[in-house]
């Protein structure tokens, strides 16, 4: 469904919102993880992963949220992080009141 050239769509909404700090952080993570120095994954693996997000996930999340899901999925796929430790860290941050 990423292959959308020529599909019917509505008017272009001139959304000009500047990325928030959180969004810029996701962007930076993505850049660094794909940089030659880190090389956790490459851009084609990243695109492949975004393209395989289930439709309802793709539609429920916006651009940077999808990127974060993609980063998480690849880090787990590559064995660099586990889902369990990610969820544990989220729970710890929540308990600390990190909003």
């Amino acid at each position: 469904m990423h292959d959308m050239g020529g599909l019917p769509a509505g008017p272009v909404e001139k959304d000009e919102h500047d990325p928030s700090l959180a969004e810029r952080r996701v962007d930076a993570l993505m850049s660094l993880l794909m940089s030659p120095a880190v090389a956790a994954f490459n851009v084609d693996e990243m695109r492949r992963t975004i393209e395989s997000l289930p439709r309802e996930v793709y539609e429920r999340h916006d651009y940077y949220e999808r990127w974060l899901l993609t980063i998480e999925s690849l880090l787990v796929e590559k064995g660099l992080l586990t889902r369990a430790e990610i969820e544990a860290r989220i729970a710890a941050l929540e308990a600390d009141g990190h909003d």
Partner: protein
């Protein structure tokens, strides 16, 4: 890179390969006829890189031009309107005009 197969100006058709995973050939050009504008150079194959391979040796990547009226039934703009994109050699075959 491997020696390029298509010279600038060659008429080509986009193959409809049964690739199931990641690829960068949009469906709107599949089966369509266009013309080679230039060769961008050799690039590793993203279809292989997407799954952990290095995608080497580099393959020729072409900039291919299409007339819009050949891509979209009932295209509303002038006949001269065109579209171009980058396609890998293995997605192209020689065409002989329609």
């Amino acid at each position: 890179m491997t020696e390029r197969r298509f010279a600038d100006g060659t008429l080509v058709r986009v193959r409809d390969l049964p690739v199931k995973g990641h690829m960068r050939t949009p469906s709107y050009v599949r089966g369509r006829q266009g013309r080679i504008e230039s060769c961008q150079g050799g690039f590793p194959n993203p279809e292989e890189r997407a799954y952990g391979s290095d995608g080497l040796p580099p393959r020729p990547l072409y900039h291919v031009r299409f007339q819009q009226r050949d891509l979209w039934p009932g295209y509303a703009g002038p006949a001269a309107d065109s579209l171009s994109l980058d396609l890998f050699e293995h997605w192209l075959e020689p065409a002989h005009g329609a």
